[in-house]
């Protein structure tokens, strides 16, 4: 990775805003003021892996979902699946359907949040627009109808979670090892079915809107984290787009399948993690290739890259068009996370429709009961931002002795650094530093949609303080915003 460079010049962007977490970027300059390198630094840490030691395993979904308020459902699912393995049972079919349905709700709300509430201020108001209004309230003022679409779409996702599990955020009381605590009533299902047509219309409309705008962004497609890497994500048994369960697939830059992890407990054979002194976020890599060459990406772009098709008709049509953007079906520009995210959003609305229209969703048998039968369990789920892994070991009383969590956002850590370096080299001109240049560096991070709340299990705030040091480490210029 990046070596210690005390004597070179640096630009620090802090905090990175409109992402779900706390981070800063440090840009290193050469003596002639061109960009040499850049680092994405995560600046806080909460320590879930330590403080869950000694807790009863069945508390784990409720505690670990507090890692993140944006994708708590992914944590609930990965955690409950690890607990399913500890009790050694398969949840009833309806419980799995309901877990999937709740998951679709979360992907819908999270993807709508990224596009409308966090990224669209750049994409619609402009990368160089006034930072004082470059936010969702600015969007409400400029285009209230568009903002309302985003609010409605996110709201529908949140309502799915609320109707299934009783609460929009941290709905941990509903899920349990072996299934769920209560079934879905017909009244609640009908309420969700009534909202489907609008949700589908909004998902299609958003996608259409984005495809129409995409022509304006050729430069960003070319320069926003456009590089080859490995990709990882769950797939269905026949290789389709999947977010809840299935083999974990890794493909290379040419789309060749290089690994497939079928038994979740063997994930450590495929990926390993490194530590750097300048970030609280660890650096996972593909073990067969090594560190840091084994950089891989996860999340919507990676999920579409590892999949061969989508099992819903509207999303599958979009998927086919999307695949044509790259060679061998591999789309490598980070900017296309936005496009991939919107296709997946449509897939999730269609999947929610299929689940809700299946009469079995209303079955009242939703829990398989058992005590501790196995002392180790691993749960995978595709969080909105990528593969999430919970790995627990317990004693015979079911008290946790070891907890390892590898979080969606962490997998992309090496890729963030590659992407911001590329953008900084293209746009940052140190001699005439402008806010819009630095906002582009932040924008490529927003395209990944990192959830640092998850990855570090903590977040915070600092002012944007751009410091320019000369080669002797003397402060020569400073800007605050």
């Amino acid at each position: 990775m990046v070596k210690e460079q005390e004597k070179s010049k640096q630009i620090v962007i802090s905090p990175i805003t409109r992402i779900e977490g706390h981070a800063q970027v440090t840009i290193f300059l050469n003596n002639n003021d061109t960009v040499k390198d850049a680092r994405f630094q995560v600046t806080d840490f909460r320590g879930f892996e330590k403080f869950t030691e000694g807790r009863p395993f069945y508390e784990m979904p409720a505690i670990t979902s507090r890692s993140c308020g944006i994708c708590p459902v992914s944590h609930l699912l990965a955690s409950a699946k690890a607990c399913d393995a500890i009790v050694g049972v398969t949840p009833p079919k309806t419980a799995i359907m309901l877990r999937r349905l709740m998951h679709m709700g979360q992907l819908i709300q999270s993807h709508a949040l990224n596009f409308y509430h966090l990224s669209s201020p750049d994409l619609i108001l402009g990368f160089d627009s006034d930072p004082a209004v470059r936010n969702v309230f600015g969007l409400i003022e400029k285009d209230p109808e568009l903002a309302k679409q985003g609010i409605r779409l996110r709201r529908y996702g949140q309502e799915i979670i609320e109707k299934v599990a009783g609460k929009r955020i941290h709905s941990a009381e509903w899920i349990s090892p072996g299934g769920a605590k209560w079934p879905l009533t017909k009244e609640r299902a009908d309420c969700l079915i009534a909202g489907l047509p609008e949700a589908e219309e909004l998902a299609c409309k958003t996608l259409k809107f984005w495809k129409k705008m995409l022509g304006q962004f050729d430069e960003e497609v070319e320069n926003f984290g456009n590089f080859p890497s490995y990709y990882m994500g769950l797939v269905t048994p026949d290789g389709g787009l999947e977010q809840y369960d299935g083999p974990l697939r890794i493909v290379d830059k040419n789309g060749k399948v290089v690994a497939e992890c079928v038994d979740p407990t063997t994930y450590a054979d495929f990926i390993s993690e490194a530590v750097e002194p300048w970030s609280w976020m660890k650096f996972p890599f593909f073990k067969a290739v090594g560190y840091p060459e084994g950089a891989y990406r996860v999340g919507p772009l990676a999920r579409l890259n590892v999949a061969t098709h989508c099992d819903t008709p509207l999303a599958n049509e979009e998927f086919k068009h999307f695949k044509k953007l790259g060679k061998n079906g591999i789309v490598q520009s980070t900017f296309h996370y936005h496009y991939a995210r919107l296709i997946e959003l449509l897939f999730c609305v269609e999947t929610a429709k299929n689940l809700l229209n299946d009469p079995e969703i209303l079955s009242e048998h939703v829990t398989s009961k058992a005590m501790v039968n196995t002392y180790e369990g691993v749960g995978f789920a595709e969080a909105p931002r990528g593969t999430l892994i919970h790995h627990y070991k317990v004693d015979p009383e079911g008290l946790v002795t070891q907890n390892n969590m590898i979080i969606a956002t962490e997998h992309n850590n090496l890729a963030y650094n590659m992407a911001i370096t590329q953008v900084a080299k293209k746009y940052v001109k140190a001699k005439q530093l402008q806010e819009g240049m630095l906002n582009r560096v932040e924008a490529v991070i927003r395209a990944f949609d990192p959830c640092l709340s998850c990855a570090t299990h903590a977040v915070g705030q600092m002012p944007l303080d751009i410091k320019l040091f000369d080669a002797d480490g003397k402060l020569v210029d400073r800007k605050l915003r």
């Binding site: 320590g47 403080f51 949040l113 390993s272 530590v275 660890k282 944007l464």
Partner: protein, 178 residues
């Protein structure tokens, strides 16, 4: 310039769930946009906490040195400061680590010094963790408390609406933990 109430939101050591619940006000955000100006927030791009803020909502416990400095700055510059959610009010899940005597060292050791890692080491070019994670009112004066994990969007909306109308919110029977 405008008569809008100047509102800030701050995210310390928490999960962002309270901010998500703020966004769960859904269409009511559009009405809110008429009455408030969001002058500082993780969902907005102003990077320095401004002067003369009317109302500041803070999510999360105080868990590192940067957060403590941020909290003090927000207090100095805000007329009304609100603890938003259980981590800010009690420490909640963020403070579970406090069960260990030197919890900062213990959690770091578990996560970064494990022998299975490449380059196991303590990251040192990052903000220093406090020994214990603490609720906000142990560090600064807090004017209102909105408990909940997260607080319901209706409750957040109620408190903001009352404050915008110049009334003191009545939390009796409205607030609940968890």
């Amino acid at each position: 310039m405008s008569a809008k109430v100047r509102v800030a939101t701050v995210w310390l050591s928490g999960c962002s769930g309270c901010h998500m619940s703020f966004l769960d006000q859904d269409e009511r955000l559009i009405d809110l946009a008429q009455k408030i100006q969001l002058v500082y927030s993780p969902i907005a791009d102003v990077k320095e906490f401004p002067e003369n803020v009317d109302v500041t909502l803070i999510e999360g416990a105080v868990a590192n040195e940067d957060q403590l400095a941020m909290l003090k700055k927000a207090r100095e510059r805000s007329k009304v400061l609100i603890s938003l959610g259980d981590c800010a009010v009690t420490g909640n899940v963020t403070a579970l680590r406090n069960a260990w005597r030197n919890s900062d060292k213990e959690i770091i050791e578990r996560a970064y010094l494990d022998k299975t890692l490449i380059n196991p080491q303590t990251p040192n070019e990052v903000p220093k963790l406090l020994v214990k994670a603490r609720p906000l009112h142990e560090a600064v004066k807090v004017d209102f408390f909105i408990p909940g994990c997260p607080p319901h969007a209706d409750l957040i909306n109620y408190v903001l609406t009352e404050l915008l109308c110049g009334r003191i919110p009545n939390m009796e029977g409205r607030s609940k933990y968890g």
